[in-house]
């Protein structure tokens, strides 16, 4: 093996310098909030300082910068990792076992929302704490539903929606679509999981890709039939299209809620379809992790900071400022949070949906490039390619990506 570009030591920030370097992209424009929390932390822990580093404009950039640091720079103490970026760091042993650290430093993790916390679990270890988390919700244009004579609620299944679609279509006229989804370059692979799970399918079961399973095929076929019937339009900026009244339904992140102000129509927010209460809601967003390569002393400080960052009060502060999900169960009972939820019933829907969330399939979040490959295939299916052929090709692609890049590592 050769690998001199990469170095194992933590680089610059020496042990116990007392400054915690927090690399964040300030999700949801949270820089000011983060600074506020940091100020509070420094006040509570006089010996410690926190440096907030602008690590990028999105999760990919944070990962890029963190990767650069791994190959020889000075490592941060706390870094924001997204649902898809954390795993590669974890499997390459770049992130510390959060659970173990928590135990060692007497930090309680039980209060984290279980689904959200377990998103960072792999092989019995936890690699991050949830931080800025979102889920998919079902948005609808109440005006259009009314016009189409539909009940004022989210459908309970996608079959039900498929029945509604023609009515919506004729009510809103051509040029507008009953449903708008992201396109494959923009997270369709994320939201589509909900539909797949609805039909009992999945992208994968553990490490085995299951794109050719009947449920998955069925969901994909449905997607294609929507597109063929012009019920569906995929878009690079689905939220914008929806908010301009170009579609009746949107399946998107809770994070968009904050942006849906001053809409020219009445907005409906509901749970994503989940027949028989099965957990079908994919989660997303980011957590915070501690690099493996730093000293124990630094790790201890880091965990202390993470604990503070995600404590009940700060979770409330953070979620209210950004629109992300509360990551602690206790936060919902926090007085200010409760008041906030009451004032924002749409937002409450998202919180209430939390128990229905389900960790994402490995094929999307763990297989390198999995999301892109899936998005690519879904684009093709929407554009009319043969469903079975496309899916089985995808199946192979994911399988071989796993074989070549992960197999040896996960089976060690």
């Amino acid at each position: 093996g050769t690998g001199s570009t990469t170095s194992d030591n933590g680089g610059g920030g020496t042990a116990g310098s007392g400054t915690i370097d927090f690399w964040s992209n300030h999700p949801g424009k949270s820089k000011a909030t983060e600074q506020k929390i940091i100020a509070a932390f420094e006040k509570a822990n006089p010996g410690l300082k926190v440096k907030l580093t602008d690590a990028g404009k999105n999760y990919e950039e944070v990962a890029q910068k963190f990767n650069a640091a791994l190959s020889g720079g000075s490592l941060p103490d706390v870094v924001v990792v997204s649902d898809v970026t954390w795993f590669n760091f974890a499997i390459n042993d770049r992130l510390a076992d959060f659970a173990a650290l928590a135990t060692a430093n007497k930090v309680d993790t039980a209060d984290y929302v279980e689904g959200l916390y377990n998103d960072y679990q792999y092989d019995g270890k936890h690699y991050a704490a949830p931080y800025a988390r979102s889920t998919v919700v079902f948005y609808w244009n109440k005006d259009m539903f009314k016009k189409a004579g539909l009940p004022d609620r989210a459908p309970t299944s996608w079959d039900e929606f498929t029945q509604w679609a023609p009515k919506l279509q004729s009510a809103i006229g051509s040029g507008k679509s009953p449903i708008i989804l992201d396109d494959g370059s923009n997270y369709l692979d994320w939201t589509f999981q909900n539909i797949v799970w609805n039909y009992g399918g999945a992208y994968s079961k553990d490490w085995t890709p299951t794109f050719t399973d009947p449920g998955t095929v069925k969901a994909a076929t449905l997607l294609q039939s929507w597109a063929k019937n012009k019920y569906l339009k995929t878009s690079a900026d689905s939220a914008a299209d929806f908010s301009a009244g170009l579609g009746a339904v949107l399946m998107e992140s809770t994070g968009d809620l904050g942006g849906f102000k001053d809409l020219p129509f009445e907005l409906g927010v509901g749970f994503v379809p989940a027949p028989e209460g099965v957990k079908t809601c994919p989660t997303g967003g980011a957590g915070v992790a501690v690099p493996q390569g730093i000293s124990d002393a630094r790790k201890a400080n880091a965990i202390k900071f993470i604990d503070f960052l995600t404590n009940t009060a700060n979770t409330a502060t953070f979620t209210q400022a950004t629109g992300y999900m509360p990551v602690r169960t206790s936060a919902t009972s926090d007085a200010s949070e409760a008041a906030y939820l009451k004032a924002n019933p749409n937002y409450e829907v998202a919180v209430k949906q939390l128990p229905r969330t389900r960790p994402q399939d490995y094929a999307r979040v763990f297989v390198p490039g999995g999301g892109t490959m899936i998005g690519e295939a879904l684009d093709k299916i929407v554009a009319g390619s043969d469903v079975n052929g496309t899916l089985s090709a995808l199946n192979q692609q994911i399988q071989s990506a796993y074989d070549s890049q992960l197999k040896s590592k996960v089976q060690k």
Binding site: T5, D21, G28, K29, A55, S74, D237, A244, G245
Partner: protein, 299 residues
């Protein structure tokens, strides 16, 4: 007074205020009309999207997403501008950008001109090899250099410093190439004359060759300033915050939400970031003077 005379002198005076402009051929009215028409078309094609950017920066959020599109904001607002400058530490980023751009551009211009000089007017063994080496550097995408350079620079402890941002970017391949071309176009005899007149290399460069390649040097300067001003990837990796971060890094923070983008402040910031360089262009392009070799040699 005849028409051609008017074209010959008065227009020249008011338009440029230049003394050195060579005599102008008679230009027919038809040609002028075509000229103005072309100018208008070009202007529209370029200006309409620009206008869109600018006008968006004056729109309120709901007006941005409407159909049909609004060519004039229904609710004109300037609040995006204060938003752009206060949501981020705009002035610090601006200061860093100005400083880094100035230093880098200066360094690049000096290095580029000197290198081009060596590659065009000096003879030394391996000259064409060196030239290829310089050009080939243009082919290396920065995506592959950053990781390795990051490791090197952080080992030097230069993260979050100006020199950490500046030095790795200071190598200049583009300018060397450009100026070499320009130097080669200087009439041969003039360089010979200067050598006969005992001009040393620096004298030759500074007094003879550079003044004759002035328009190209200005173009080089402008392009360098623009590139350094907009440089993103490297400063982003090097800088943690507004202490040494540049404007493009600051601007990205206006748009990082998980959800819907708020274009107004983004466009406002884009407009703000564009203005200084555009002003520089306005000033410098006037110095692109025509016919600098006039009267130099016969042939």
């Amino acid at each position: 007074m005849t028409d051609s005379a008017v074209q010959g002198d008065e227009v020249r005076d008011t338009e440029q205020g230049l003394v050195d402009d060579g005599p102008e051929l008679n230009v027919s009215t038809a040609r002028k009309v075509v000229g103005y028409a072309g100018m208008l078309v070009a202007f529209l094609i370029v200006a309409v999207p620009l206008y869109w950017i600018v006008v968006t920066s004056f729109k309120e959020r709901p007006d941005i997403y409407t159909q049909p599109a609004q060519w004039w904001p229904k609710h004109f607002t300037t609040k995006n501008y204060p938003a752009a400058t206060t949501e981020i530490d705009f002035w610090s980023y601006l200061r860093n950008s100005v400083f880094i751009t100035a230093v880098l551009s200066l360094a690049k211009i000096i290095l580029g001109v000197l290198s081009a000089y060596a590659l065009s007017l000096l003879r030394f063994p391996g000259r064409s090899l060196v030239f290829i080496v310089v050009i080939a550097a243009l082919m290396v995408p920065n995506q592959i250099t950053v990781i390795s350079n990051y490791a090197l620079v952080s080992q030097l402890g230069w993260r979050d410093t100006y020199q950490g941002i500046i030095i790795p970017l200071a190598g200049v391949a583009f300018g060397t190439f450009l100026m070499r071309n320009a130097f080669l176009a200087v009439p041969h005899e003039i360089v010979e004359a200067a050598r006969m007149d005992g001009a040393g290399p620096l004298k030759l460069l500074w007094r003879v060759v550079l003044p004759m390649t002035w328009p190209t040097l200005i173009a080089f300067g402008l392009i360098t300033v623009v590139n350094e001003w907009n440089e993103y990837l490297w400063p982003y990796l090097m800088a943690s915050d507004s202490r040494v971060g540049t404007l493009p890094i600051g601007l990205t923070q206006l748009q990082n939400t998980d959800g819907i983008s708020n274009w107004g402040p983004v466009m406002a910031a884009t407009v703000l970031a564009m203005l200084p360089v555009l002003a520089l262009f306005l000033v410098l392009q006037r110095h692109m003077i025509k016919g600098l070799t006039a009267g130099a040699v016969k042939g």
